[in-house]
């Protein structure tokens, strides 16, 4: 967690949205900047606040980072690809 007044190092995260989420947001991608140490859960909160229609995203969605399922405590690093996944319905 950032602790003082020096410029916080930011990480850039490429966000991707699929299926119903892409539809409600009107976009399939978003470039997000968040402080270093941000978790997936906090990034979701930021997306819900910053994106038009973001409130339609659930607070606790399924998520993947760099093509792997992760839980919301996963910490993001610069260059990550964060995907928010509607309930899976393959098969």
């Amino acid at each position: 967690m950032p602790q003082n007044d020096v410029v916080q190092p930011q990480v850039r995260v490429r966000c991707r949205f699929f299926a119903r989420y892409a539809e409600v947001l009107g976009t399939a991608t978003h470039e997000l900047q968040v402080p270093r140490g941000t978790t997936v859960g906090s990034a979701v909160q930021a997306l819900r606040e910053r994106l038009p229609g973001g409130q339609a995203l659930p607070k606790v969605p399924l998520a993947a980072v760099n093509l792997e399922h992760v839980d919301l405590g996963h910490v993001l690093v610069d260059g990550d690809e964060l995907a928010l996944l509607p309930p899976l319905a393959g098969g």
């Binding site: 991707r16 699929f18 299926a19 119903r20 539809e23 993947a64 093509l67 792997e68 399922h69 995907a83 996944l85 509607p86 309930p87 899976l88 319905a89 393959g90 098969g91």
Partner: protein, 145 residues
Amino acid sequence: MPFVTHAPIDVPALLAEVARRDRGGTVVFLGSVRRSEDDGPVEAIEYTAYEEMAEAEFGKIVAEAEVRWPDAGFAVRHRLGEVLTGEPSIAVAAAAAHRAAAFDAARWVVEEAKRRLPIWKRERFDDGSRQWRDGSGVAGASDTA
């Protein structure tokens, strides 16, 4: 072959991929788009995916299955795009020395695929209307198979 594909599922090709002379039991599962009274007049389902992840995740599932059943062979496909009622959208073939392992392995891969693949479906009805279909959807938690 990619695991996630827009091409129709070719069952003989899957069988050929898993065939080996020391594998006496082969099980193929096909999950098809179904139409039943409960679900309304579904004409087709359009599958979309997080394609790079679906491909990677299906590969991981197969790799894990190969650890659990070391001498077994696996071939898997998930179709994307529009799949008409009655056509298969997912296929899993497992071949093993004996039938018990082939059944168990095929079923394990199917369950993992259903649980882990980042794939979504939107139903198209006879009247042309469309609707996302997932565990949270109005249409309920019903599934192709």
